[in-house]
């Protein structure tokens, strides 16, 4: 059974285009696109253009970023259990966000929401610490140190988050827990536009990496013997995946599960060649998160669920089904 690759991309694209028209309130498309009604009076257009479309774009970007970072980090660490959150990036980002929520800082910036900015700074801090610790001895990064430092920082930051929450009052604590569950309700284009340049840089590097990542899965020495500049590849992979993860967490919070199941599901369908796995993971990651977010918006409507709950609750069994089906074949 071989599905043409373009089918994955087309399906993902179709899902993202249709998604804004699905939701708890039905919108009248005719009036939404009727530009004779002033925008401030046009509720349908407001829902579509300010609530739904940015939200779908955010979902697609975050889903693509987390899925591709997962692919890159699994190859870099030569560990199929690695996720975008393994190296402590998301915990750093979360701590940054929680501190701002709890301490109530607000920098009035016209471009970037304060919480997102703080989250990104937190991610950068975590990345710098992990990189500093794993800095090459000899001619490559130590994947063991990367993993151990990442996992340790993850625990350290998570403990700090708990401490901050414990000290916080009820409302702040509530908000910060909500943030940690992941939410794509960006209500507007500002967070997307501010994260977009970072994501584009990361995606551009991802385009450059696949062939070297393939060879890197044979081991660093074997890759080096085939002419791969191992240290340069590791650095590019580490920083681009961290950048994508940091930007994704700044937009949507630490939405779990995508970074591990999408890469594995894609490999089950198309094999392990990163030149194929990376683009398809981007498309399926985007589609998967957009679908989960439709679920989050509609299942308990009018109440909205955090999308992070949906990704794991529905994605988990779905992934297990693929796994079992693959074992049987």
């Amino acid at each position: 059974m071989k599905t043409p690759r373009v089918v994955f991309h087309l399906a993902a694209f179709a899902i993202c285009v249709l998604a804004p028209f699905v939701g708890s309130t039905s919108i009248n498309l005719y009036s939404a696109f009727n530009f004779e009604i002033p925008f401030s009076d046009n509720i349908d257009a407001q829902i579509l253009f300010i609530a739904r479309i940015p939200r779908v774009i955010a979902g697609a970007l975050v889903g693509a970023a987390l899925a591709t970072s997962g692919v890159v980090l699994q190859a870099l660490l030569r560990n199929p259990l690695a996720t975008p959150f393994t190296l402590g990036v998301s915990a750093g980002g979360s701590l940054g966000a929680i501190l701002v929520i709890v301490l109530g800082f607000s920098v009035s910036s016209p471009f970037v929401p304060t919480v997102a900015l703080a989250s990104f700074i937190g991610s950068l801090t975590a990345v710098s610490i992990v990189y500093y610790l794993a800095r090459f001895r000899g001619n490559r990064l130590s994947t063991n140190v990367l993993l151990l430092a990442g996992v340790t920082l993850n625990s350290l930051f998570s403990a700090t988050i708990m401490f901050v929450q414990y000290m916080a009052d009820y409302t702040q604590s509530f908000y910060s827990i909500r943030w940690l569950m992941g939410n794509l309700d960006v209500s507007g284009y500002t967070p997307i536009i501010s994260a977009l340049p970072l994501l584009l840089v990361a995606f551009a590097v991802f385009c450059y990496l696949p062939r070297a990542l393939n060879v890197l899965t044979l081991g660093a020495d074997s890759a080096s013997a085939r002419g791969v500049n191992v240290l340069a590849t590791q650095r590019l992979a580490f920083f681009s995946a961290s950048l994508a993860t940091g930007a994704a967490v700044a937009i949507g919070g630490p939405i779990g599960f995508i970074g591990i199941i999408i890469p594995h599901a894609v490999r089950m369908f198309v094999g392990a060649d990163h030149r194929v796995v990376l683009p398809i993971s981007a498309s399926l990651g985007a589609a998967f998160l957009v679908i989960c977010d439709i679920g989050a918006r509609t299942i308990l409507s009018p109440v909205e669920l955090p999308v992070g709950v949906i990704t794991a609750m529905f994605g988990g069994p779905f992934f297990l089904w693929i796994l079992v089906r693959n074992q049987q074949n």
Partner: protein
């Protein structure tokens, strides 16, 4: 082809190799012998450009390895480790094609010529029929032959005749049969002999297996405590005396009537 002039190497403060000078000629089959920890793997790492000598220099076809880029080195020599484990599963053909890495540009995909070379390499190691199998499902001996095929794919180029030819290819094998049973060991030996005879591949093999060395090599390098103990043609170099000096063991060396090869029978620890 490969020339070492007075090379030394140390890991941090521990000196692993001292003042080694030797020469590997094109088309030769060289066995590197030495006890555990004597520096065999380090020597192969230096030959392959994975490690940089502390002193001295190594030249490949007259050019200093230090002046060559990783891709330039990779087109001229390939390394086969003792064992290759994959993080993700690739097919035998995909894995063989990875040898084309140093020949392709960053965004280039393998073309028909690359497939041709990979298939010739699979044929040369006798595993054409495994092409579509997944690497992880193979036996140890089959896996090792895939890795050798991938290394050949790295060295070979299509010449005018449209038949792959070795491009001054040097194959470094680090204990390639250490984890294989005797049947697979013989398979690997056969495949290596075919490569050397039909494809003029130069072989350097580090090994603990004196039988393999006697059977396969025409030149021997012996190292102990990081120093060159003896080097020369197998016939003259693999003797009772050198084996005693190398491993502190008594052994009998005689010629097998059937194959005409030397045979080493270890007798006792000295």
């Amino acid at each position: 082809m490969l020339n070492c002039e007075n090379i030394s190497f140390c890991y941090e403060s521990k000196t692993v190799l001292r003042e080694i000078s030797l020469r590997i000629r094109r088309g030769e089959r060289t066995a590197v012998l030495g006890p555990n920890g004597s520096g065999k793997t380090t020597l192969l790492g230096l030959f392959g450009g994975l490690l940089k000598p502390k002193n001295g220099r190594i030249t490949l076809s007259g050019i200093d390895l230090a002046d060559m880029s990783p891709t330039q080195i990779a087109r001229r020599l390939a390394i086969v480790p003792q064992e290759t484990r994959l993080t993700f599963d690739y097919s035998v053909l995909q894995m063989t094609l990875m040898g084309r890495y140093p020949h392709l540009k960053r965004f280039e995909h393998e073309g028909l010529d690359d497939y041709k070379i990979a298939r010739e390499a699979l044929a040369a190691t006798g595993i054409s029929q495994l092409e579509d199998r997944s690497y992880k499902t193979l036996s140890g001996g089959e896996k090792q032959r895939v890795v050798i095929a991938s290394a050949l794919t790295q060295l070979w180029q299509l010449k005018d005749s449209q038949k792959p030819s070795p491009n001054e290819g040097l194959l470094l094998l680090d204990e390639p049969t250490a984890s294989l049973d005797i049947g697979y060991q013989l398979d690997i030996i056969k495949a290596l002999l075919v490569l050397n005879e039909n494809h003029k591949t130069t072989l350097v093999i580090s090994t603990h297996d004196l039988g393999l060395a006697a059977r396969l090599s025409d030149e021997i390098i012996m190292i102990r405590h990081g120093r060159l103990l003896a080097t020369g043609p197998t016939e003259n170099t693999l003797t009772r005396e050198t084996i005693r000096d190398l491993y502190d063991i008594e052994a009998e060396v005689h010629r097998n009537q059937e194959t005409g090869h030397l045979m080493v029978v270890p007798l006792a620890r000295k």
